[in-house]
C-alpha cells in the first residue's frame, strides 16, 4: 500500500521536476512550497553563497541536534570519531548520535509525522527513503550545501530509482559486485561476463553463490544487472522509466516477453549455483570455502576481509554490462525541530577532510568527484573494484514498484521452479 504511495509520490515528483534539476535552487525539491515545520530559516533566500552567514547563528541558537545512522561499520565510525567531534568543536553544537536500523528509524519518523510531533531525529543516514517522501524536508540540499558543489550529478538527485531532487544527500558510495576467491579462481577463470559466470558455475557446481533477490541487495542488484544486460533496449527503457506505476510494471514484467531471457539465464545458472539467504550468507559460504564466487557488496566484502572474516585472497569485480551502484545518504525530516543545525550538519558530512578520512581509512567511496580511490592506501586498493572497471560499470536501479514486481516475478519464474 505504502509502496504504491511512494511510487505515486515519485511519479508526481518526477513529473513536477523533470530533468531541470538546477533551474531554481531556492525553490522546494518537490511540491509547491517548503514542507518543513521549523520556519526559523528562510529557505527561499538560502543559497550556497550565504549558507554559513545565515545558518551558523541560527544553528548555534538550536544548540543541539540528534542524528541517526543505520548500521554499516565504516560510516558509523566516521560519524562517531571524525564528523561529530569536528562539528561540535567547530560550531559548539551538541550532536546526540544513535545507531538505528532503517526499518526501525523510519517507522519512528512515520509515527511522529502522523501525530504531528517533531521527529525523533534531525538528520538520518538511512538505506531507504521514507515511504511518504513528504516526511523528508523538501530542500534541494545537494544544490545549496557548499560542500555538495562537487557531487557526482548521477548521485545527487535520484536514489534507487526514486527522484528526490536533492533532498537526500549522498554520503557513502556502494556498489554491487561479483566477489571471487583468487586462490581458487585464477586468471582466465575470473568471470568477466554473465556468460563467463554461467560457464564457471557449470564447470564448478555448487561453487557459485547467488544472493536471493528476495533477501539481499546484492541479489536484487544482480537481478537488475542480468536484466540490464539481457533485455532488449526497448524493454530496458520501459523498465528504467522512473515514473512507471504498478500497472505499467505488471504489463512489462508479467505480460510481455521482455524478461524471458532473464528467467532463462537464472534457471540455467541455478541448476549449478546455490541461492543464499542474504548478503552475509553469501560471504559466509565464501569464508567457509564452500563457494568461490558470489554476489556481494563492495563495501561489505572490504569490511569482511579487513576484519579477517574472509580470506585476504578475495577480490571483487563488476561484470561486463555493469552492476547497480549508488550512494547511501542522509536526509532531514520535514518535522525536525532543529532545522538550522541539521542543515549545517548535512554540509559537514560532505566536508572534504571527512570524506577523505572515510575513503582512506575504510575505502568508503565518496560521492564527491574530486576525491577518487587514489587516496586509498595501495594495500587496500586491491580489495576494491579496479578504477577503470568501476567508472564504466555502475548502473542505476529501477523504481521501487518496478523492482518489487520484478522480484515477485523472479520468485514465480525462477525460484518456484
Amino acid at each position: 500500500m505504502q509502496l504504491k504511495c511512494l511510487a505515486a509520490s515519485a511519479a508526481v515528483i518526477a513529473a513536477m521536476t523533470g530533468a531541470a534539476h538546477a533551474a531554481d535552487v531556492t525553490g522546494p525539491a518537490f511540491g509547491d512550497t517548503f514542507n518543513v515545520t521549523d520556519t526559523s530559516v528562510d529557505l527561499s533566500q538560502l543559497t550556497r553563497e550565504n549558507f554559513y552567514d545565515v545558518l551558523v547563528p541560527l544553528a548555534k541558537k538550536d544548540g543541539e541536534m540528534t542524528f541517526y545512522s543505520y548500521w554499516p561499520p565504516a560510516p558509523l565510525v566516521v560519524f562517531q570519531n571524525q564528523i561529530i567531534p569536528a562539528f561540535e568543536k567547530k560550531y559548539g553544537i551538541k550532536v546526540h548520535f544513535n545507531s538505528v536500523e532503517t526499518n526501525v528509524g523510519l517507522p519512528q519518523l512515520d509515527a511522529a509525522y502522523k501525530e504531528g510531533k517533531p521527529s525523533p531525529m534531525d538528520g538520518y543516514f538511512s538505506s531507504d527513503l521514507p515511504a511518504d517522501l513528504n516526511e523528508m524536508a523538501n530542500i534541494r540540499l545537494t544544490d545549496i550545501l557548499p560542500n555538495a558543489a562537487d557531487l557526482d550529478p548521477s548521485l545527487a538527485y535520484e536514489y534507487r530509482g526514486i527522484e528526490h531532487n536533492g533532498a537526500y544527500v549522498p554520503f557513502h558510495g556502494n556498489q554491487t559486485v561479483i566477489a571471487f576467491n583468487s586462490a581458487f579462481v585464477k586468471g582466465d577463470e575470473v568471470p568477466q561476463t554473465f556468460e563467463d559466470l554461467l560457464a564457471y558455475s557449470k564447470a564448478n557446481p555448487g561453487k557459485v553463490a547467488i544472493t536471493s533477490p528476495l533477501r539481499g541487495g546484492s541479489g536484487s542488484g544482480f537481478l537488475t544487472a542480468v536484466s540490464h544486460k539481457l533485455m532488449s533496449d526497448d524493454c530496458v527503457a520501459k523498465w528504467m522509466d522512473l515514473s512507471a506505476d504498478e500497472a505499467a510494471a505488471d504489463k512489462l514484467v508479467n505480460n510481455s516477453e521482455c524478461f524471458a531471457p532473464v528467467w532463462a539465464y537464472f534457471n540455467d545458472l541455478l541448476e549449478t549455483a546455490q541461492i543464499t539467504n542474504g548478503n552475509t550468507d553469501t560471504l559466509n559460504l565464501m569464508a567457509n570455502g564452500v563457494a568461490n564466487v558470489g554476489t556481494a557488496w563492495e563495501d561489505l566484502t572490504f569490511s569482511y576481509v579487513m576484519g579477517n572474516q574472509l580470506p585476504d585472497t578475495v577480490r571483487v569485480t563488476i561484470l561486463n554490462g555493469g552492476q547497480p551502484g549508488g550512494a547511501e545518504g542522509a536526509f532531514i525530516p520535514s518535522n525536525t525541530a532543529n532545522l538550522a543545525a541539521a542543515l549545517l550538519f548535512m554540509d559537514e558530512i560532505l566536508a572534504p577532510e571527512h570524506q577523505a578520512w572515510k575513503l582512506a581509512g575504510f575505502a568508503s567511496r565518496s560521492p564527491k568527484t574530486e576525491l577518487d580511490a587514489s587516496l586509498i592506501p595501495a594495500e587496500a586498493q586491491k580489495l576494491l573494484v579496479p578504477a577503470d572497471i568501476y567508472e564504466e560499470g555502475r548502473i542505476s536501479n529501477a523504481n521501487p514498484v518496478m523492482s518489487r514486481v520484478v522480484r515477485d516475478a523472479f520468485a514465480a519464474n525462477v525460484l518456484d521452479k
Binding site: M1, L214, Q274, I275, N284, L285, N288, V290, A411, D416
Partner: protein, 281 residues
C-alpha cells in the same frame, strides 16, 4: 444483589482491561486491517485475506509455515513421549540427565539457529571434522526440505515437550499400570489404553504449545531455511520493511486463524478424552 452485579465487572476490570488492551486491541487492529478497515484501508474487502491463498508466494509461504510447525512438532512428539516415560524410571545418572536435557530450554532460538548453522553448514565445524576421514556434510542448510530448520526446532522443542509430558505422566497414580497388568493387559496395551489417555491433556497441551511456537518461528527459517518459499513470518518482516501494513495484517490474521483452529482441535480432543475417561469410569 444489584451491588454484587456491579462489583463483579469492577473486580474483573483490571484483568480483563489488561487483556483487552494488550491482546484484544492489537488483534482487533490486525483483523480490521486485513479487512481493509484500518487506517491504511480503502473500505471493507476480503481480497487482502484471499490474496494469502491466491497469490503463490503467500500460499506457498503459508504451507511452509505449516510445515515448519507440524513436522518438528510431530517428530518432537515421537522423541518426547519415550523420553518422558524414561524419566519416570529410576536409572543410574537419572538426576544428571534430568538436569542436562533441560539446558536447551535456556538457549534463545536465535542462538540455537546459529549453533546449528556453524555446526552443520557445508564448510562448518562438522564438515571440517569429516573431511579428515574423506567425508563431507550433506546439504542440510538452505535445502528444500528445511532440514536445518527442523533440527534447530527439535533441539529447542524436545526438552520443552518432554518437561510438560513428563509432568503429565508423573501425575498418573502409580497403581494404575500394575492394576491394568494384573488384569491381563500387556505392557504396550497398558501404555496405550491407560497411561497415554491419562496423560493426554498434558500431551495435547505440549503439542499445541510447540505448534504455536513453531508457526511463527523466524530465526531458524531465516538463517537455515531455503531461500524460497519463505514462511509467512519472514514475509511479514519483509512487508514491514516495505511499509506494507495491509499484507502484515492479512498474514498475521491468517496465522492467528490457523492457530485458533489448532486450539479448537485441542479443546475438542481434550473434551473427548475426558468424556471417554468419565465413561470408562
Amino acid at each position: 444483589m444489584r451491588r454484587m452485579a456491579l462489583d463483579l465487572p469492577l473486580l474483573l476490570l483490571p484483568g480483563v482491561g489488561f487483556l483487552v488492551l494488550t491482546f484484544g486491541l492489537p488483534l482487533y487492529w490486525a483483523i480490521t486491517g486485513s479487512l481493509g478497515l484500518g487506517a491504511d484501508g480503502t473500505g471493507f474487502t476480503l481480497m487482502h485475506l484471499a490474496d494469502i491463498f491466491l497469490e503463490t508466494k503467500f500460499r506457498k509461504g503459508l504451507m511452509m509455515s505449516l510445515y515448519y510447525a507440524i513436522a518438528p512438532t510431530v517428530l518432537t512428539l515421537f522423541v518426547a513421549i519415550p523420553l518422558a516415560m524414561l524419566l519416570q524410571k529410576s536409572f543410574p545418572g537419572r538426576k544428571l540427565f534430568n538436569g542436562l536435557y533441560k539446558i536447551p530450554l535456556a538457549i534463545p532460538s536465535i542462538v540455537a539457529a546459529f549453533m546449528v548453522l556453524t555446526l552443520i553448514e557445508q564448510g562448518g565445524f562438522m564438515d571440517r571434522v569429516l573431511v579428515h576421514i574423506g567425508l563431507s556434510m550433506p546439504k542440510i542448510v538452505r535445502d528444500q526440505f528445511g532440514i536445518g530448520v527442523i533440527l534447530s526446532t527439535l533441539w529447542k522443542d524436545i526438552p520443552f515437550m518432554t518437561l510438560i509430558i513428563a509432568g503429565a505422566f508423573g501425575a498418573i497414580p502409580k497403581d494404575m499400570v500394575p492394576a491394568a497388568r494384573s488384569l491381563g493387559a500387556s505392557r504396550t496395551r497398558a501404555f496405550l489404553m491407560v497411561e497415554l489417555p491419562l496423560a493426554m491433556p498434558g500431551v495435547t497441551a505440549a503439542t499445541l504449545l510447540c505448534f504455536v511456537k513453531s508457526i511463527g518461528n523466524f530465526a531458524a527459517p531465516s538463517l537455515l531455511g531455503p531461500a524460497y518459499p519463505l514462511p509467512l513470518s519472514i514475509q511479514m518482516y519483509d512487508a514491514y520493511r516495505e511499509g506494507d501494513w495491509i499484507a502484515i495484517y492479512s498474514m498475521g490474521t491468517v496465522l492467528i486463524i490457523v492457530s485458533f483452529i489448532v486450539l479448537g482441535a485441542y479443546y475438542a480432543l481434550t473434551a473427548r478424552t475426558l468424556q471417554h475417561m468419565k465413561r470408562e469410569g
